[in-house]
Protein backbone atom coordinates (compact mmCIF):
# COMPACT_ATOMS: atom_id res chain seq x y z
CA UNK A 1 0.00 0.00 0.00
CA UNK A 2 1.36 3.36 -1.03
CA UNK A 3 1.71 5.95 1.60
CA UNK A 4 -0.02 9.30 1.33
CA UNK A 5 3.32 10.97 0.63
CA UNK A 6 4.03 8.66 -2.26
CA UNK A 7 0.51 9.23 -3.68
CA UNK A 8 1.03 12.95 -3.56
CA UNK A 9 4.37 12.59 -5.28
CA UNK A 10 2.84 10.55 -8.10
CA UNK A 11 0.04 13.07 -8.60
CA UNK A 12 2.64 15.81 -8.78
CA UNK A 13 4.65 13.96 -11.42
CA UNK A 14 1.49 13.10 -13.39
CA UNK A 15 0.30 16.73 -13.29
CA UNK A 16 3.75 18.03 -14.23
CA UNK A 17 3.83 15.78 -17.26
CA UNK A 18 0.50 17.15 -18.52
CA UNK A 19 1.54 20.72 -17.75
CA UNK A 20 4.63 20.25 -19.84
CA UNK A 21 2.50 18.93 -22.68
CA UNK A 22 0.24 22.00 -22.44
CA UNK A 23 3.23 24.35 -22.57
CA UNK A 24 4.54 22.55 -25.60
CA UNK A 25 1.16 22.98 -27.31
CA UNK A 26 1.14 26.74 -26.65
CA UNK A 27 4.58 27.12 -28.10
CA UNK A 28 3.53 25.62 -31.41
CA UNK A 29 3.10 28.15 -34.22
CA UNK A 30 -0.47 29.36 -34.62
CA UNK A 31 -2.23 27.66 -37.44
CA UNK A 32 -5.14 30.06 -37.60
CA UNK A 33 -5.96 33.63 -36.73
CA UNK A 34 -9.26 35.45 -36.40
CA UNK A 35 -9.67 39.21 -36.42
CA UNK A 36 -12.62 41.52 -35.98
CA UNK A 37 -13.35 45.02 -37.17
CA UNK A 38 -14.41 47.04 -35.30
CA UNK A 39 -13.48 45.49 -31.99
CA UNK A 40 -15.26 48.07 -29.84
CA UNK A 41 -18.75 49.44 -30.27
CA UNK A 42 -19.58 52.55 -28.26
CA UNK A 43 -23.27 53.17 -27.76
CA UNK A 44 -24.77 56.62 -27.65
CA UNK A 45 -25.80 58.29 -24.41
CA UNK A 46 -29.46 57.73 -25.18
CA UNK A 47 -29.29 54.17 -26.49
CA UNK A 48 -27.94 51.22 -24.64
CA UNK A 49 -27.82 48.98 -27.71
CA UNK A 50 -24.95 48.81 -30.14
CA UNK A 51 -26.18 48.56 -33.72
CA UNK A 52 -23.43 48.10 -36.26
CA UNK A 53 -21.91 45.79 -38.85
CA UNK A 54 -18.82 43.87 -37.86
CA UNK A 55 -16.53 41.92 -40.14
CA UNK A 56 -14.76 38.76 -39.06
CA UNK A 57 -11.65 37.86 -41.07
CA UNK A 58 -9.58 34.73 -40.67
CA UNK A 59 -6.41 33.21 -42.02
CA UNK A 60 -5.62 29.53 -42.07
CA UNK A 61 -2.23 27.96 -42.64
CA UNK A 62 -3.86 24.68 -43.50
CA UNK A 63 -6.86 24.03 -45.68
CA UNK A 64 -9.60 23.10 -43.36
CA UNK A 65 -13.27 23.79 -42.93
CA UNK A 66 -14.09 26.09 -40.12
CA UNK A 67 -17.12 27.26 -38.20
CA UNK A 68 -17.67 30.53 -36.39
CA UNK A 69 -19.58 30.32 -33.15
CA UNK A 70 -20.60 33.07 -30.80
CA UNK A 71 -22.73 33.84 -27.80
CA UNK A 72 -24.69 36.35 -29.91
CA UNK A 73 -28.24 35.22 -30.48
CA UNK A 74 -28.09 36.16 -34.16
CA UNK A 75 -25.06 33.97 -34.87
CA UNK A 76 -24.95 30.79 -32.89
CA UNK A 77 -22.99 28.91 -35.50
CA UNK A 78 -21.90 29.63 -39.05
CA UNK A 79 -19.80 27.23 -41.08
CA UNK A 80 -17.62 27.95 -44.05
CA UNK A 81 -17.85 25.43 -46.83
CA UNK A 82 -15.57 27.22 -49.28
CA UNK A 83 -11.86 27.73 -48.65
CA UNK A 84 -12.03 30.84 -50.84
CA UNK A 85 -14.16 32.64 -48.29
CA UNK A 86 -12.18 34.12 -45.46
CA UNK A 87 -14.46 36.82 -44.04
CA UNK A 88 -17.95 37.19 -42.67
CA UNK A 89 -19.97 40.39 -42.20
CA UNK A 90 -22.61 40.42 -39.50
CA UNK A 91 -25.12 43.05 -38.51
CA UNK A 92 -25.31 43.00 -34.79
CA UNK A 93 -27.58 44.63 -32.26
CA UNK A 94 -26.26 43.97 -28.81
CA UNK A 95 -26.05 45.53 -25.40
CA UNK A 96 -23.22 43.36 -24.12
CA UNK A 97 -19.91 41.96 -25.26
CA UNK A 98 -19.93 39.22 -27.90
CA UNK A 99 -17.36 36.45 -27.98
CA UNK A 100 -16.59 34.89 -31.38
CA UNK A 101 -14.77 31.56 -31.63
CA UNK A 102 -13.45 29.85 -34.73
CA UNK A 103 -13.39 26.08 -34.59
CA UNK A 104 -12.35 23.29 -36.89
CA UNK A 105 -15.54 22.04 -38.43
CA UNK A 106 -14.43 18.42 -38.35
CA UNK A 107 -12.49 18.12 -35.14
CA UNK A 108 -14.26 20.92 -33.23
CA UNK A 109 -10.83 22.10 -32.19
CA UNK A 110 -10.80 25.72 -31.12
CA UNK A 111 -8.57 27.61 -33.51
CA UNK A 112 -8.93 31.24 -32.47
CA UNK A 113 -11.21 33.67 -30.73
CA UNK A 114 -11.97 37.35 -30.67
CA UNK A 115 -14.29 39.58 -28.66
CA UNK A 116 -16.46 42.53 -29.62
CA UNK A 117 -16.59 44.91 -26.69
CA UNK A 118 -19.84 46.84 -26.26
CA UNK A 119 -19.43 49.86 -24.07
CA UNK A 120 -21.63 52.79 -23.25
CA UNK A 121 -20.53 56.36 -23.75
CA UNK A 122 -19.76 57.90 -20.42
CA UNK A 123 -22.75 59.57 -18.83
CA UNK A 124 -22.66 63.35 -18.89
CA UNK A 125 -21.52 65.01 -15.71
CA UNK A 126 -24.37 66.62 -13.85
CA UNK A 127 -24.59 68.85 -10.83
CA UNK A 128 -27.28 70.32 -8.68
CA UNK A 129 -29.33 73.11 -10.13
CA UNK A 130 -29.96 75.86 -7.62
CA UNK A 131 -32.96 77.50 -9.24
CA UNK A 132 -36.32 76.26 -10.35
CA UNK A 133 -36.23 76.64 -14.14
CA UNK A 134 -39.76 77.99 -14.10
CA UNK A 135 -39.71 80.05 -10.97
CA UNK A 136 -40.96 83.09 -12.90
CA UNK A 137 -37.95 84.88 -11.48
Amino acid sequence: MLSIAKKSCLWFLFYSAFSGYAVAEELEPLTASLSLSPTICITSEDEETCNTEVVLTWELLQNRSICIMSDYKGLKKWCNNSPAVNSLAINISADQDIQFVMIDKDTHETLAGVKLKVTQASSPQVRRRYRNPWSLF
Binding site: P124, Q125, V126, R127, R128, R129, Y130, R131, N132, P133, W134, S135, L136, F137
Partner: protein, 288 residues
Amino acid sequence: MHYLFALILSISFFATSAHASNNDACGNNTDCIEVGRWDIGIALGYGVKSNPLKDFDDIPIYAVPTIAYYGDSWFFDNGNIGYTVTEGENYTVNVVSTFSTDRAFFYRWDPSNIFLVNGHSAARSNISIMAAIPEPEIDTSKLEDRSFTYLGGVEAFLYTRFGIVKASVTHDLFNVHNGTEAQLKWLYNIPLDSWNFEFAAVLDWKSEQVVDYYYGIRPSESPYWSEKYQAESALNQSIEFTGQYVLTENWNILLVARYTDLADEIVDSPLLDKDYTTTYFVGAAYRF
Protein backbone atom coordinates in the same frame (compact mmCIF):
# COMPACT_ATOMS: atom_id res chain seq x y z
CA MET B 1 -49.13 84.17 7.66
CA HIS B 2 -51.79 81.51 8.04
CA TYR B 3 -51.22 80.52 4.42
CA LEU B 4 -47.61 79.78 5.27
CA PHE B 5 -48.47 77.61 8.22
CA ALA B 6 -51.10 75.75 6.23
CA LEU B 7 -48.58 75.03 3.54
CA ILE B 8 -45.92 73.90 5.95
CA LEU B 9 -48.34 71.56 7.66
CA SER B 10 -49.58 70.05 4.44
CA ILE B 11 -46.11 69.64 3.01
CA SER B 12 -44.84 68.09 6.21
CA PHE B 13 -47.50 65.45 5.76
CA PHE B 14 -46.34 64.77 2.24
CA ALA B 15 -42.74 64.88 3.35
CA THR B 16 -43.01 61.86 5.55
CA SER B 17 -44.61 59.78 2.82
CA ALA B 18 -42.46 60.95 -0.06
CA HIS B 19 -39.10 60.97 1.63
CA ALA B 20 -37.91 57.74 0.07
CA SER B 21 -38.10 59.08 -3.44
CA ASN B 22 -36.34 62.31 -2.56
CA ASN B 23 -33.10 60.88 -1.30
CA ASP B 24 -31.22 61.01 -4.55
CA ALA B 25 -29.75 64.44 -5.14
CA CYS B 26 -30.40 64.08 -8.84
CA GLY B 27 -33.57 62.10 -8.46
CA ASN B 28 -35.47 63.89 -11.17
CA ASN B 29 -34.63 66.05 -14.11
CA THR B 30 -35.53 69.30 -12.41
CA ASP B 31 -32.98 68.87 -9.61
CA CYS B 32 -29.87 68.57 -11.70
CA ILE B 33 -28.37 70.03 -14.82
CA GLU B 34 -25.71 68.79 -17.19
CA VAL B 35 -22.37 70.51 -16.71
CA GLY B 36 -21.09 72.48 -19.68
CA ARG B 37 -24.32 72.50 -21.64
CA TRP B 38 -26.80 75.31 -22.12
CA ASP B 39 -30.26 74.53 -20.88
CA ILE B 40 -32.67 76.59 -22.89
CA GLY B 41 -36.41 76.34 -22.84
CA ILE B 42 -39.57 78.27 -23.21
CA ALA B 43 -43.00 77.83 -21.73
CA LEU B 44 -45.99 79.04 -23.69
CA GLY B 45 -49.35 79.46 -22.09
CA TYR B 46 -51.25 81.96 -20.06
CA GLY B 47 -50.83 83.46 -16.67
CA VAL B 48 -51.07 86.68 -14.73
CA LYS B 49 -48.88 88.41 -12.22
CA SER B 50 -51.01 90.73 -10.15
CA ASN B 51 -49.67 94.18 -9.55
CA PRO B 52 -50.09 95.56 -6.05
CA LEU B 53 -49.26 99.04 -7.24
CA LYS B 54 -52.10 101.49 -7.42
CA ASP B 55 -52.94 102.56 -10.97
CA PHE B 56 -50.73 99.87 -12.47
CA ASP B 57 -52.19 97.01 -14.48
CA ASP B 58 -51.67 93.37 -13.76
CA ILE B 59 -49.02 91.72 -15.88
CA PRO B 60 -50.15 89.01 -18.29
CA ILE B 61 -47.75 86.17 -18.96
CA TYR B 62 -47.77 84.40 -22.28
CA ALA B 63 -44.24 83.08 -22.46
CA VAL B 64 -41.63 82.28 -19.86
CA PRO B 65 -38.07 81.56 -20.91
CA THR B 66 -35.47 79.60 -19.03
CA ILE B 67 -31.77 79.90 -19.76
CA ALA B 68 -29.09 78.29 -17.67
CA TYR B 69 -25.48 77.21 -17.97
CA TYR B 70 -23.55 75.43 -15.26
CA GLY B 71 -19.80 74.96 -15.41
CA ASP B 72 -17.76 73.06 -12.87
CA SER B 73 -18.09 75.90 -10.37
CA TRP B 74 -19.62 78.88 -12.16
CA PHE B 75 -23.22 79.01 -13.15
CA PHE B 76 -25.68 81.27 -14.87
CA ASP B 77 -29.31 80.61 -14.14
CA ASN B 78 -32.06 82.89 -15.41
CA GLY B 79 -30.11 86.07 -14.78
CA ASN B 80 -28.43 84.88 -11.63
CA ILE B 81 -24.68 84.45 -11.78
CA GLY B 82 -22.96 82.39 -9.14
CA TYR B 83 -19.87 80.54 -8.07
CA THR B 84 -19.99 77.45 -5.93
CA VAL B 85 -17.49 77.92 -3.12
CA THR B 86 -18.03 74.59 -1.47
CA GLU B 87 -20.44 71.74 -1.84
CA GLY B 88 -21.02 68.50 -0.03
CA GLU B 89 -23.60 65.80 -0.02
CA ASN B 90 -25.84 67.81 2.27
CA TYR B 91 -24.91 71.41 1.61
CA THR B 92 -23.86 74.01 -0.93
CA VAL B 93 -22.43 77.48 -0.46
CA ASN B 94 -22.48 79.87 -3.41
CA VAL B 95 -21.35 83.39 -4.02
CA VAL B 96 -24.16 84.75 -6.09
CA SER B 97 -25.57 87.78 -7.82
CA THR B 98 -29.26 88.28 -8.33
CA PHE B 99 -31.76 91.06 -8.79
CA SER B 100 -34.68 92.42 -6.92
CA THR B 101 -38.17 91.58 -8.07
CA ASP B 102 -39.67 94.81 -6.76
CA ARG B 103 -38.78 96.87 -9.81
CA ALA B 104 -40.86 94.56 -12.00
CA PHE B 105 -44.05 96.15 -10.73
CA PHE B 106 -42.98 99.50 -12.14
CA TYR B 107 -41.46 98.60 -15.50
CA ARG B 108 -42.65 96.49 -18.37
CA TRP B 109 -39.16 95.39 -19.42
CA ASP B 110 -37.73 94.60 -16.06
CA PRO B 111 -35.99 91.20 -16.18
CA SER B 112 -38.75 89.80 -14.03
CA ASN B 113 -41.20 90.61 -16.79
CA ILE B 114 -39.18 89.36 -19.73
CA PHE B 115 -41.29 87.90 -22.48
CA LEU B 116 -44.50 89.16 -20.97
CA VAL B 117 -46.48 90.20 -24.00
CA ASN B 118 -48.84 93.16 -23.85
CA GLY B 119 -47.63 96.67 -24.35
CA HIS B 120 -49.35 98.13 -21.35
CA SER B 121 -48.47 95.47 -18.84
CA ALA B 122 -47.12 97.10 -15.74
CA ALA B 123 -48.34 100.33 -17.21
CA ARG B 124 -50.60 102.76 -15.49
CA SER B 125 -54.30 102.20 -15.62
CA ASN B 126 -56.62 105.01 -16.58
CA ILE B 127 -58.86 104.28 -13.66
CA SER B 128 -58.51 106.98 -11.08
CA ILE B 129 -59.12 106.27 -7.46
CA MET B 130 -58.49 109.83 -6.53
CA ALA B 131 -61.92 110.37 -5.09
CA ALA B 132 -61.58 107.49 -2.67
CA ILE B 133 -58.47 108.90 -1.07
CA PRO B 134 -58.90 111.88 1.15
CA GLU B 135 -55.21 112.58 1.22
CA PRO B 136 -53.25 114.09 -1.67
CA GLU B 137 -53.00 111.75 -4.59
CA ILE B 138 -49.70 110.80 -6.11
CA ASP B 139 -49.47 111.22 -9.85
CA THR B 140 -48.00 107.85 -10.70
CA SER B 141 -47.20 109.03 -14.22
CA LYS B 142 -44.59 111.30 -12.74
CA LEU B 143 -42.77 108.86 -10.55
CA GLU B 144 -39.04 109.09 -10.67
CA ASP B 145 -36.96 106.19 -11.93
CA ARG B 146 -36.65 103.03 -9.93
CA SER B 147 -33.43 101.79 -11.47
CA PHE B 148 -32.40 98.24 -12.05
CA THR B 149 -29.60 96.90 -9.94
CA TYR B 150 -27.81 93.70 -9.22
CA LEU B 151 -27.45 92.34 -5.75
CA GLY B 152 -24.47 90.27 -4.73
CA GLY B 153 -23.93 88.07 -1.74
CA VAL B 154 -23.86 84.56 -0.39
CA GLU B 155 -26.40 81.78 -0.43
CA ALA B 156 -26.34 78.43 1.27
CA PHE B 157 -28.39 75.31 0.70
CA LEU B 158 -29.02 72.57 3.16
CA TYR B 159 -30.36 69.31 1.79
CA THR B 160 -32.32 67.43 4.40
CA ARG B 161 -34.81 64.61 4.47
CA PHE B 162 -37.45 67.24 5.02
CA GLY B 163 -36.59 69.20 1.91
CA ILE B 164 -34.14 71.88 0.93
CA VAL B 165 -33.48 74.95 3.02
CA LYS B 166 -31.97 77.96 1.33
CA ALA B 167 -30.65 81.04 3.07
CA SER B 168 -29.19 84.02 1.27
CA VAL B 169 -27.99 87.51 2.00
CA THR B 170 -27.33 89.92 -0.84
CA HIS B 171 -26.42 93.59 -1.05
CA ASP B 172 -26.80 96.19 -3.77
CA LEU B 173 -23.72 96.02 -5.99
CA PHE B 174 -24.18 99.29 -7.88
CA ASN B 175 -25.06 101.81 -5.19
CA VAL B 176 -28.57 102.20 -6.54
CA HIS B 177 -30.25 101.94 -3.17
CA ASN B 178 -27.44 100.49 -1.07
CA GLY B 179 -29.91 98.11 0.44
CA THR B 180 -29.72 94.52 1.55
CA GLU B 181 -32.05 91.61 0.99
CA ALA B 182 -32.16 88.28 2.75
CA GLN B 183 -34.16 85.20 1.98
CA LEU B 184 -35.04 82.06 3.82
CA LYS B 185 -36.65 79.46 1.63
CA TRP B 186 -37.84 75.96 2.24
CA LEU B 187 -38.80 73.79 -0.68
CA TYR B 188 -39.80 70.25 -1.19
CA ASN B 189 -39.99 68.13 -4.31
CA ILE B 190 -42.44 65.29 -4.71
CA PRO B 191 -41.89 63.23 -7.83
CA LEU B 192 -44.84 60.97 -8.64
CA ASP B 193 -44.50 58.97 -11.84
CA SER B 194 -44.55 61.52 -14.64
CA TRP B 195 -45.38 64.34 -12.26
CA ASN B 196 -43.08 66.49 -10.23
CA PHE B 197 -44.49 68.80 -7.62
CA GLU B 198 -42.41 71.44 -5.93
CA PHE B 199 -43.70 73.36 -2.95
CA ALA B 200 -41.89 76.29 -1.44
CA ALA B 201 -42.36 78.66 1.45
CA VAL B 202 -40.33 81.84 1.34
CA LEU B 203 -39.47 84.64 3.70
CA ASP B 204 -38.05 87.69 1.91
CA TRP B 205 -36.51 90.39 4.05
CA LYS B 206 -35.77 93.78 2.54
CA SER B 207 -33.82 96.46 4.27
CA GLU B 208 -35.19 99.94 4.80
CA GLN B 209 -33.12 101.21 1.88
CA VAL B 210 -34.70 98.74 -0.53
CA VAL B 211 -38.23 99.48 0.64
CA ASP B 212 -37.62 103.18 0.56
CA TYR B 213 -36.13 103.12 -2.92
CA TYR B 214 -38.97 101.23 -4.54
CA TYR B 215 -41.97 102.08 -2.41
CA GLY B 216 -40.94 105.28 -0.71
CA ILE B 217 -42.14 108.62 -2.00
CA ARG B 218 -39.60 111.21 -3.02
CA PRO B 219 -40.17 114.89 -2.34
CA SER B 220 -40.47 115.59 -6.07
CA GLU B 221 -43.26 113.03 -6.32
CA SER B 222 -45.28 114.22 -3.36
CA PRO B 223 -43.94 116.40 -0.57
CA TYR B 224 -46.83 115.31 1.61
CA TRP B 225 -46.30 111.59 1.22
CA SER B 226 -42.54 111.79 1.31
CA GLU B 227 -42.97 113.02 4.84
CA LYS B 228 -45.89 110.87 5.84
CA TYR B 229 -44.67 107.50 4.61
CA GLN B 230 -41.42 106.49 6.20
CA ALA B 231 -40.10 103.23 4.86
CA GLU B 232 -38.92 100.52 7.17
CA SER B 233 -37.41 97.12 6.63
CA ALA B 234 -40.00 94.57 5.61
CA LEU B 235 -40.59 90.85 5.55
CA ASN B 236 -42.66 89.38 2.73
CA GLN B 237 -44.00 85.86 2.95
CA SER B 238 -44.64 83.70 -0.07
CA ILE B 239 -45.78 80.27 -0.95
CA GLU B 240 -45.02 78.76 -4.31
CA PHE B 241 -46.10 75.73 -6.23
CA THR B 242 -44.65 74.33 -9.42
CA GLY B 243 -46.17 71.28 -11.03
CA GLN B 244 -44.70 69.60 -14.05
CA TYR B 245 -46.06 66.70 -16.04
CA VAL B 246 -43.59 65.06 -18.37
CA LEU B 247 -45.21 64.52 -21.77
CA THR B 248 -42.10 63.69 -23.77
CA GLU B 249 -38.38 64.17 -23.41
CA ASN B 250 -38.77 67.79 -24.48
CA TRP B 251 -42.33 68.73 -23.60
CA ASN B 252 -43.75 69.29 -20.15
CA ILE B 253 -47.06 70.59 -18.92
CA LEU B 254 -46.32 73.37 -16.49
CA LEU B 255 -48.38 74.76 -13.64
CA VAL B 256 -46.96 77.57 -11.55
CA ALA B 257 -48.58 79.51 -8.74
CA ARG B 258 -47.25 81.93 -6.19
CA TYR B 259 -48.85 83.97 -3.47
CA THR B 260 -46.96 86.69 -1.69
CA ASP B 261 -48.22 88.37 1.43
CA LEU B 262 -46.62 91.80 1.36
CA ALA B 263 -45.25 93.20 4.57
CA ASP B 264 -47.23 95.93 6.28
CA GLU B 265 -44.24 98.24 5.95
CA ILE B 266 -44.60 98.00 2.17
CA VAL B 267 -48.39 97.97 2.07
CA ASP B 268 -48.37 101.23 4.01
CA SER B 269 -46.83 102.92 0.98
CA PRO B 270 -49.33 105.13 -0.85
CA LEU B 271 -48.15 103.51 -4.07
CA LEU B 272 -49.91 100.28 -3.17
CA ASP B 273 -53.54 99.42 -2.94
CA LYS B 274 -53.18 95.69 -2.34
CA ASP B 275 -51.43 93.84 0.42
CA TYR B 276 -50.59 90.83 -1.67
CA THR B 277 -49.47 89.77 -5.10
CA THR B 278 -50.22 86.55 -6.92
CA THR B 279 -48.76 84.86 -9.95
CA TYR B 280 -50.07 81.93 -11.84
CA PHE B 281 -49.15 80.35 -15.13
CA VAL B 282 -50.45 77.33 -17.02
CA GLY B 283 -48.77 76.22 -20.18
CA ALA B 284 -46.60 73.84 -22.11
CA ALA B 285 -42.85 74.01 -21.67
CA TYR B 286 -40.34 72.97 -24.29
CA ARG B 287 -36.69 72.26 -23.44
CA PHE B 288 -34.30 72.43 -26.37
